[in-house]
Amino acid sequence: MTPGFVIRLAARETRAAWRRLLVLTASVAVGTGALVAINAFSDNLRGSVRDQARALLGADLSLSSRKPLEGHAAAVLDTLAEGGRTARTVNFAGMAYVPRTTGTRLVQVTAVEGDFPFYGEITTEPRSAWKDLHGGPRVVVEPALLTQLDARLGDTLALGEGRFVITGTVTGIPGDVGVRAAFGARVFIPAATLESTKLLGFGSRAEYAAFVQLPAGRDAQALAKQYRPRLRADRVRIRSVEEDRDNLSETLGRLTDYLGLVALIALLLGGLGVASAVTVFIRRKLGAIAALRCIGATSRQVFAAYLLQSAAMGLLGSVIGVVLGLAIQRLLPGLLQQFLPVTVTPSISWRAIVLGLGTGLWVSVVFALIPLLGVRRVSPLAAIRRDYEPARGRDPLVLPVLVLLAASVVALAALQVGSWTSALAFTGGIGGALLVLWLASWALARAVRRWTPARWPYVWRQGLANLHRPANQTVTVVLSLGFGAFLLTTLFLVQHNLLRQLTLGGGAARPNLVFFDIQPDQRGPLVELLREQGVDGSAPVPIVPMRINAVNGRPVLRVTGDSAEWATDSTPGGGRNSGWAFRREYRSTYRDSLVGSEKLVAGKWWEPRTDGPGAISVEVGLASELDVTIGDTITWDVQGVLLPTVVRSIREVDWARFDTNFFVVFEPGLLEQAPQSFVILGRVDDPAARGRLQRTVVERFGNVTTVDLATLQGAVENLVDQVTLAIRFMAAFSLLTGALVLVGAVATSRFQRIREGALLRTLGATRRQVLRVVLAEYLALGGLAAIVGVGLAILAAWAIATWVFEGPFAVPVPAVTLLAFLVTAGTALLGALNSRDVLRLPPLQVLREE
């Protein structure tokens, strides 16, 4: 080969035809942009977590528990704190009430003792408010709460029986995730005043935490390891900065890995754009290639020149993509802000840039290879015989190139998520979806050829006939658009079903208010109050907190045995594994009948009470986690009293239905004397009346927490919206690339189309008729892409809803229909826009080109 000739040829071809390859460049640019943005953001995020890790925890070590840190935990704390400092906090939910405005709101209270945080800073407005918090019954609150309660600085805020002066607003809490605020604004009070609120009555859920600043030179992680086993037995969690950082990096890494895959899909769709752009380009070049061959260029030289050209245009696309990506990178922190416990400052990530350039270039080369293979088989004869038939038969290189393509996809995915298994699953999933789309487009072309009714108007028949014409674009368009539609619809459906599952209080009789933490002596007066107010409230449901002591006689510590399994304890939020089912605190009830959301699936409901262990009914999922069945025994630790029970029945519980649902229900007669609190459900339709009732309750029963489900539901919807916004943002790149691929695909047959349009117009067709032919074709293409894409999405979303979220599934028909319609209409519009030359050029000009 003569590299000089090849390079010159490639350069000359590019100089003359770069416009025609713009689709290639644009396809690569969009996908690369998405990839660079997400990878750079991911790097920034890792850096921020590393830099801000200590501020996130606020200390070197922290201990936390559902119970006050006493006994052994307190001893450990004393040991750790030698030579260092400690601070404590108590977190719990409560009702905030401003007497001046009569506003009430569910809040998350943190009672602070000591100089917390040791690292990082809780910033307030005015600045001195945090420092001066301990100077009396003062409270600093999140700014949103002031709006919600119509309050201002200096107002009195009631929490339970305590009265506080609002002295400032919190503007920054290190490590606090924005979405937390959705479930109640945060308020901070001095720990010394906690007692005065009388909010931590029996049954209230609180988290007690202690923070330690170690003296210099002590290894926090080693200490955490050393004390963890013993603390765990006491159900006390210990965390160190390093572990927190690693866990956080891992969690956030999964998020960015996932978004990265969505970006990779956009780039792979861009690969389709490359393939179709090169196909069109080469088809136009056949004459020139044949002429080159006539005058002595070898097929290798010609092939190399065009490959070089594709690579150059791909590289240009990658460079544009990098610039684009660096711009998008700056948008991502804003999009994800609510989920990020750290402040992410965008900065240049060379790793992301190099990776983006390499990936973009590689995708443009690999996807260009398939259409370029044909260049090798152009015969010099084609230059002298116009109707020369190209070589037939299989090109032996097609299969190896396809294998290279598949291997590239796996490798790129592995590079993105760092796991070969995930990469293979990803490739397999994409391959499966593409296969279905391919089969569908093939079937469509077949069906149209066979079954287009001869009675249909000519323009429709002609448009549909274009779907199976030689060198048709049916497959390319259906693949690219269908895939984009598939991705977006899947996201939409999953989101819809998640939200639907969370849609509470829909039915007329459904409760929309919940009163928690009702103490036994408040039960009667509260029921009386609700009756006075005309509220239809449920009977008070008792709640008894307890833990499992033993299953079938084996103490739980031995059941879960080795400490390796318990190590999951340090994962934020805790993994829901079997260890969790044994360790968790259960809030159980007792009653004599089933409620509407329950169904018995095994065993019998209560038989007359006898001596021996009491009877319980266990929820089906929990029964399998604990591996218990009818007749097995579970010994409960109810506030220090051991209570042996036997499993008499297994229930299925519809958790989605709002009711007082429990994992474990005891038969009456066992728990009546145990320490307990009560819950009452009620319904008040009018939002204003609901607000008034909450105020009345908080005034008379300061410790009773009221949850307004309408507010809660709004918060949940907001949360899901936030999650899906980021994903949809990335998925939009796929759709954008899909549109580019469509533009490229339309171009594949543009010349043939223009010629036919001119011919039809010569024969007397009006522009409107020609336009209708084009529309018929693109409506069919878009319709098929939409139907198959949406169909696949319904399957995928159903699978996700059933197996990942384990919830019910429904298709919102009007919305999905609208989506399919939009994809179809968009395709037709783009097709028509791209075919406007057919209408614009005078017919003679086209026919003269013969």
Partner: protein
């Protein structure tokens, strides 16, 4: 039937104005058979395009069947073609995705009629009665041109424009096409304008206009 008055056509080529046709005037009576001959680049095809209303002239006008084409919009001219004009091309120009019968139906369907029976009749007329369900690719060149001819006559045109109709065919096949055109000219009284550089073919017409460098150099009746 057809009248050209001072037709002049020019294109911009490389920044310079290139005159392709220069002041062409002639008239052709109903049922006439005119051939236009001349060397490559003499403006034959351009003239045909102007006469058929496929393009607009820079100067001058065409009156086709008493209608002044220069006064019509592109779509109005298309309407006129659909109703009164037929075409035959050197490269056949059949629509590859439609069968022979459907190709013949196209001009009729464009004007809103079905035309199935008419298509069958015309295909039988050109000797392809049994090949109507075949696609163009399944037909030989001569057969394709016969389908094109059937298509050209589908709407009973008042005038037929033929651009090198035998150019892509061997002489025997070409002769059948010419015979068919003559028969149709005779039977339907269709005016025919034929562009060719085949002098033997041109001699079959009743009148021949010879072009050179965009001007009429001779206009002779047979």
């Amino acid at each position: 039937m057809l009248r050209a008055e001072g037709l002049t056509q020019s294109y911009l080529s490389g920044g310079r104005e290139l005159t392709v046709l220069n002041d062409i005037s002639f008239a052709l009576e109903q049922g006439g058979f005119l051939s236009i001959v001349g060397p490559s680049g003499s403006g034959k095809t351009t003239l045909l395009g102007l006469l058929a209303g496929l393009d607009r002239a820079r100067a001058g006008r065409v009156v086709l069947d008493d209608v002044d084409l220069s006064a019509l919009s592109e779509d109005e001219r298309a309407r006129l073609r659909a109703e009164r004009v037929g075409f035959v091309f050197q490269a056949f120009q059949l629509i590859p995705t439609l069968t022979a019968r459907e190709n013949v139906q196209v001009p009729l369907e464009l004007t809103g009629s079905d035309g199935g029976a008419r298509a069958d009749e015309l295909l039988a007329r050109v000797g392809l009665g049994k090949r109507g369900h075949h696609y163009p690719a399944q037909l030989s060149g001569g057969e394709q041109q016969r389908v094109a001819l059937a298509r050209a006559f589908a709407n009973k045109p008042r005038i037929l424009f033929a651009d090198e109709p035998t150019g892509n065919l061997d002489s025997a096949t070409g002769e059948t096409i010419v015979q068919l055109m003559l028969e149709l000219n005779r039977d339907f009284g269709t005016t025919i304008v034929l562009v060719t550089h085949d002098l033997a073919l041109a001699a079959r017409a009743r009148r021949t206009i010879r072009l050179a460098d965009g001007r009429i150099v001779s206009d002779t009746a047979a």
